[in-house]
Symmetry: none
Subunit: 368 residues, 2 copies
C-alpha cells in the first residue's frame, strides 16, 4: 500500500477545517501529491503551525472547493459539518470523528445532508496537534467510510474513498451503527481497561511499581491519553461501550468468585474457571488480523537456526526468494550469549512443507 497520485488528482480543491493531528496529516499527505489544500482552524496558532508544516495554504474564503474535511473535536463535529454543508453548496463534506452514530443523528434533516459521508481514519499517535502530523500517518490503515443514507449518490462516498486511497489508507464501507459497535470493542473498551489497570498503580508502593515489566507497560500504554478527549469519545459512544463493559464485568465476576474459592481452599472447578478465561483471551487475541486482513493463526511458522555471522539474513531471504515462496511475516530472535539466532518465517500453510524442504536442502537447520 502506498499513496496514490491518480486518486489524488480526482479530488479537486480540498478544504480542511480543524488542523490538529489528523487534519494537518491529511493536508501534508495531499500537498505531497500536488493537491490544492486550503486550511481553516478557529485557533490562529494551530492554523499557522499547520501552514508552516506544509499542510496547505490559509483558506482565503472566496474559492470554490470540491471536498471539505472536518477535523474538529468530536463534540462540535456535527455543527461544523452542518455549517460547511451550508457554506459550500456543491462540496462533498466528510469528517474524521471516531464515533459516527451520534453525528449522523445530529445531522438528520440538515440542509445538504445528501452531500455528507462520514469518515474515520483508524490512525493516531500519542502526541496530538499539527506538529505531530505525518504525511504517512494513514499508510496501510483502515479508513472507515459511513454513507449518510443507503441510497446516497455514488459520487459522494467515492470522493471520500478517493481521499483515503490517495493517502495510502484502505477504505472500509460500514454503516455508522456497525462502526460504533466495532470501535467500542476494538478501541474504547481497551482504552478503559488500560485506564482501570493503570489506576491501581496510583496508591502502589515504590518497590511494587519498581518491579514493573514490559507486560504492564504494554497493557497500560494507551492509558497515557487525554482525559478530556476520551470523555468526549466515550460519552459519544456510551451505550455501545457500556454494553461491552457489562459482558466484561460478567467474566470479571466469574474470575473473582473463582479466586475467592481458591483462596478459601475450595479448588473444585475454580482453577478450570481461571484457565478458561485465559484460554478465551488467547482465542480472542488470535482473531486480530495480520497481513491482508487474515487471522494470524492462518500462517504456518517455520523456524531456522541462524549462525551468528554477518550476511546470514540476506542469505536466508535469497534462498527463500529463489524457492519462490512469499514471506508473510518474519521475526528474528537473537541472543548475544547463544551461538545462534532463531529466524521465524510465517508463510501460508500450503507453503510450509515446501519452505522446510527448500531451507533444509540449502543447508539451514530447521527447528521443529
Amino acid at each position: 500500500m502506498s499513496v496514490d497520485p491518480a486518486a489524488a488528482q480526482t479530488l479537486g480543491t480540498v478544504r480542511i477545517v480543524g488542523t490538529g493531528l489528523l487534519g494537518a496529516s491529511i493536508g501534508l499527505g495531499l500537498r505531497g501529491l500536488g493537491v490544492r489544500v486550503l486550511l481553516h482552524d478557529p485557533s490562529p496558532t494551530a492554523l499557522a503551525l499547520a501552514r508552516d508544516m506544509g499542510a496547505g495554504e490559509l483558506d482565503p474564503g472566496d474559492e470554490p472547493v470540491s471536498l471539505v474535511v472536518v477535523g474538529a473535536p468530536p463534540d462540535v463535529t456535527a455543527s461544523v459539518v452542518r455549517a460547511e454543508l451550508a457554506a459550500h453548496p456543491n462540496a462533498t463534506v466528510t469528517d474524521v470523528a471516531s464515533v459516527k452514530g451520534g453525528i449522523a443523528a445530529e445531522l438528520a434533516g440538515a440542509g445538504g445532508i445528501e452531500r455528507y459521508a462520514g469518515g474515520h481514519p483508524m490512525a493516531g499517535r500519542e502526541r496530538s496537534g499539527p506538529t505531530a502530523a505525518r504525511a504517512d500517518l494513514f499508510l496501510g490503515r483502515p479508513w472507515v467510510v459511513c454513507p449518510s443514507s443507503t441510497g446516497q449518490a455514488h459520487e459522494r462516498t467515492e470522493a471520500v474513498r478517493m481521499l483515503a486511497v490517495a493517502l495510502g489508507a484502505t477504505p472500509v464501507f460500514m454503516p455508522a451503527a456497525e462502526h460504533d459497535e466495532a470501535v467500542a470493542l476494538i478501541s474504547h473498551v481497551p482504552q478503559l481497561a488500560a485506564s482501570l489497570v493503570a489506576s491501581r498503580l496510583v496508591k502502589a508502593s515504590d518497590p511494587a511499581v519498581g518491579l514493573a515489566g514490559q507486560g504492564l507497560r504494554d497493557v497500560t500504554r494507551i492509558a497515557d491519553s487525554d482525559p478530556m478527549l476520551w470523555a468526549q469519545i466515550l460519552s459519544a459512544n456510551a451505550p455501545q461501550v457500556a454494553g461491552v463493559l457489562k459482558e466484561l464485568r460478567t467474566d470479571l465476576d466469574t474470575v473473582i468468585a473463582a479466586l475467592d474459592a481458591l483462596g478459601a481452599g475450595e479448588a473444585v472447578g475454580a482453577r478450570a474457571a481461571v484457565a478458561q478465561i485465559v484460554h478465551h483471551g488467547r482465542e480472542g487475541r488470535g482473531r486480530i488480523p495480520g497481513k491482508h486482513g487474515q487471522p494470524q493463526t492462518r500462517y504456518a511458522v517455520v523456524t531456522a537456526l541462524l549462525p551468528d555471522q554477518p550476511g546470514q539474513l540476506a542469505r536466508l531471504f535469497e534462498d527463500i526468494g529463489e524457492a519462490g515462496i512469499n514471506v508473510e511475516e518474519f521475526s528474528l530472535e537473537h541472543s548475544p550469549g547463544a551461538r545462534v539466532g532463531l529466524g521465524s518465517v510465517s508463510v501460508l500453510p500450503a507453503a510450509r512443507e515446501e519452505l522446510e524442504r527448500a531451507l533444509t536442502e540449502r543447508g539451514w537447520h530447521v527447528v521443529a
Copy 2:
C-alpha cells in the same frame, strides 16, 4: 546494566533443575561467564535442547554443587526444592517461581530450609521452552530475592544476589508477602485484564476485528499466554489478585453507571466521572519507572516501509549488510489489507543514525 564476571566467579558449580525458558536462559548466561553449569530436567527433550543451545552440561549426578536453581513449574516448585535441599546438603537452593508465599508455607519445617532463599527474576517472554532462551533475558530486570526467614545466614541470600548480579539483573530484597502483593498489581491483574479484553473479540465480526490497531494489539499482547501456566500462577496468588480485582470492579461499576446515565441523556456529572477514570489511569501510568526505560532503550529501532513484492527482505538485509551494521532484532508487521509492511530493525543505539542514513540513501522509506 551488564553481566558481572566477578560476581559469576563467586558462584561455584551451579545445578539447574528445569531447563525451560528461565532455567536455560540462566544456564546460557552463566556459561558465557565461564561458570560450570550442570543441567537436569525430567524431559529428555528439553534437557538435550538446552544442552545443544549451550546452556550447560548434562548433570552426571555425582558432583558437589554450590548453588541449585529450581526452574520447575510453579505447582511442583516446593517439592522439587525440598528434594534438592535433601540431595545437596551443603548447597544453597533457590527457585524462579512467580509467587513466593505459598512455596514458603509449603516448605515450612523442611530439612535444610535455612539454605533456601526464594527468587523471582522479573523476566519472561511469550514463547517458552529452552529454544526461546536468551543469555541477556535478565539484563536490567529486577530479580526479587525472598529470604526464608528474617535471620537467614547472609551467605545464602548473598549467593542468590550474586546469581542475579552475574546475569546483569538488579537484586531486590523483599519479604514473600510483599512480593506477592506487588506482582498481583503489576503482573497478574494486567494479565487478566488483557485476557478479559481479548475475550470480547471471540464473537466479534470479521469487519470489526479488521479495524484493530496498535492500541488493541498492545493491550492484549500478553493475552497470548499459556492458560495452564497462568491458572497455576493466579491460583497460587488468589487472595492478592482477588483483592486488586475487587478494587478494579468498583471503578468499572462507576464507569458503567456513568455511561448508562449518558446513554439515557442524564449527563450531569457522568462525563466528569468518565474523565476522572482516564485521568487516574494517566496518573497511575506515570508511576511506572523509566517509561522509556531499560529494556526498550537497549536497542534503537529503525522502521522502514517494505513494498509487498518478492525479494524485498533480501534486498533490505543486503543493504544493511553493505552498510556494515549488525542487526540485533527484526520484526515485520502488516496492517490489514495493506500492500506494504513495516520492517522494524533493532540496532545498538550508536548505529541508529548511520542505519537511517544508509537506508534512506539506498531508496528505503524510513518512518520517523
